[in-house]
Symmetry: C2
């Protein structure tokens, strides 16, 4: 299952569009109702979010929106908002009190390039800005859909989702969770935002409840695949390829499903998850090709 | 201008209602779309938000909503959301990398009672939860008003508002700002949320643009008064009365308008601000009595 060049081009083009939009939104011009944009804080926010990531989550928003015939500009803005949430979580996770990482994608992390206080505030501001972007009049969606997106994003990223998952992850360093604990932790820490990315397409397209459930289930499958692939990478990749420290999970004694069941199991499980994800999209026929490729890309990524 | 006992009773009753609602919302029951509520994180969030504050901002939301005939239950929920934002900012401001405070209202701060990582995540989660509360189906408002509230709250609390003000405040420790810089810093750090509290009433009541501008201007005046009173307190109150360290601004060489112009000037200015605030509410006649009392309370508070 080789990544096709057209998929790769699609992914890159979307990432570029997301970066451009975020760079515009985080420009020096003070928006309506804002008092000022402190230069240093803005620079730290830009450092945290304009970092050349793959922008996989925004890509999922755009691809799932396209599948169901929703507005592409709206999807781009929701994707940018989601990326703000994802990047805020990286900025805070990298802090000395959390994972204490100096490097992220080969660059100094925000608290290294700036300072700890600025990194905390930049993360806070990116999180806040995500909801600003969705609610803003520039997002071409009815208020009903905006409210649904804000609620779903808040639930995916708060104490019952991503932030809660990070809390469980910290606890796991002290007391190793069992298999069920690992599954919950991962569903929260990485799964919830990926699920949201797929579900968002259904909300943006104002699709049926059945479509929304299907995209949500698809998001759950690829969220699991993402985490398994990540755990495999943590075992096998070297620091150079990842642009960050690796092998840290093992060093900290953190349990992963790969550690519990072994690499061969994980590789079979990844194939199974991709097949299940594909199967969920069968009703959409050929239109789902790009999402299916995304699922394969996630399972097979090497960085 | 003595605080009347009926005002004090009003303030306390509203604070109790806000605490009850927040305690319910932050209970152990997992909400729709949440995966789990990690016990330790939830306890830290509760520690950060259920701390017996005066709940002045929620009170302003309820009073300004009542002035314009809006729904009281909606106002209570928006007030609770706003308090989550206010309290998240306190949790993060207290962190060692920021103001490094061990005490808040006489109690250990969140990073002391728990740990730094948990305090960061509890703050993040409270901020996220604010938008959850507003967007949730339980908030009895049309989506148009929810979106307007979310946008206004995000702008008031993000890089162009409160968080930006905190960034300026940190910078002020290294290089003292001039008068204009102090005014901007304070308008962002404390003014923006107080202005939002008052403006929120106009949004909840779906009032006219004229009403909204008036409440907003009222909020700006009492925000300035709040900060001046705070600066006066920092100079004069002892740590016991405040339940936290005092005199810290002066010790850090932070500029305040009180330091620039003196105590007598600040006391005259406070009276002037209250008069201007009162004046803005004249069109509402006797109905505005409680907001006028709030303005006086803010200017004269001793803790």
């Amino acid at each position: 299952m080789k990544e096709t060049s057209s998929f790769s081009a699609h992914l890159k083009a979307n990432a570029l569009a997301v970066e451009e939009l975020l760079s515009d939104l985080l420009g020096p011009v003070v928006g309506m109702d804002e008092i000022a944009r402190p230069r240093n804080l803005l620079a730290a926010m830009r450092h945290g979010v304009l970092n050349g990531g793959k922008r996989l989550r925004p890509f999922l928003v755009s691809a799932s929106t396209a599948l169901l015939g929703g507005d592409a500009d709206a999807a781009l803005r929701i994707g940018a908002a989601l990326e703000c949430v994802h990047c805020y979580s990286l900025v805070h996770d990298d802090l000395p009190a959390m994972d204490d990482d100096d490097l992220r994608r080969g660059q100094p992390t925000v608290h290294i390039a700036f300072d700890e206080a600025t990194a905390i505030l930049a993360g806070d501001s990116l999180l806040t800005f995500a909801f600003d972007i969705i609610a803003a009049p520039e997002t071409p969606l009815p208020d009903r859909q905006k409210t649904a997106l804000i609620l779903a994003l808040a639930r995916a990223s708060g104490h019952g989702g991503m932030a809660g998952g990070q809390a469980l992850d910290l606890a796991a360093e002290k007391s190793a969770p069992g298999e069920a604990g690992i599954v919950t932790l991962q569903a929260m820490k990485t799964g919830a935002l990926i699920r949201f990315a797929c579900e968002a397409g259904a909300i943006i397209a104002d699709a049926s409840d059945e479509d929304r459930r299907r995209l949500r289930a698809f998001g759950e499958k690829i969220g699991l695949a993402f985490q398994l692939a990540d755990d495999l990478l943590d075992l096998t990749a070297d620091a150079q390829a990842m642009g960050k420290a690796t092998g840290k999970d093992a060093a900290r004694g953190k349990g992963t499903l790969v550690a519990l069941h072994g690499q061969a199991w994980a590789e079979r499980e990844l194939e199974e998850l991709v097949a299940q994800a594909e199967n969920l999209l069968q009703p959409y026929g050929a239109r789902s090709a790009i999402l299916v490729e995304t699922a394969r890309f996630i399972a097979n990524r090497r960085s």
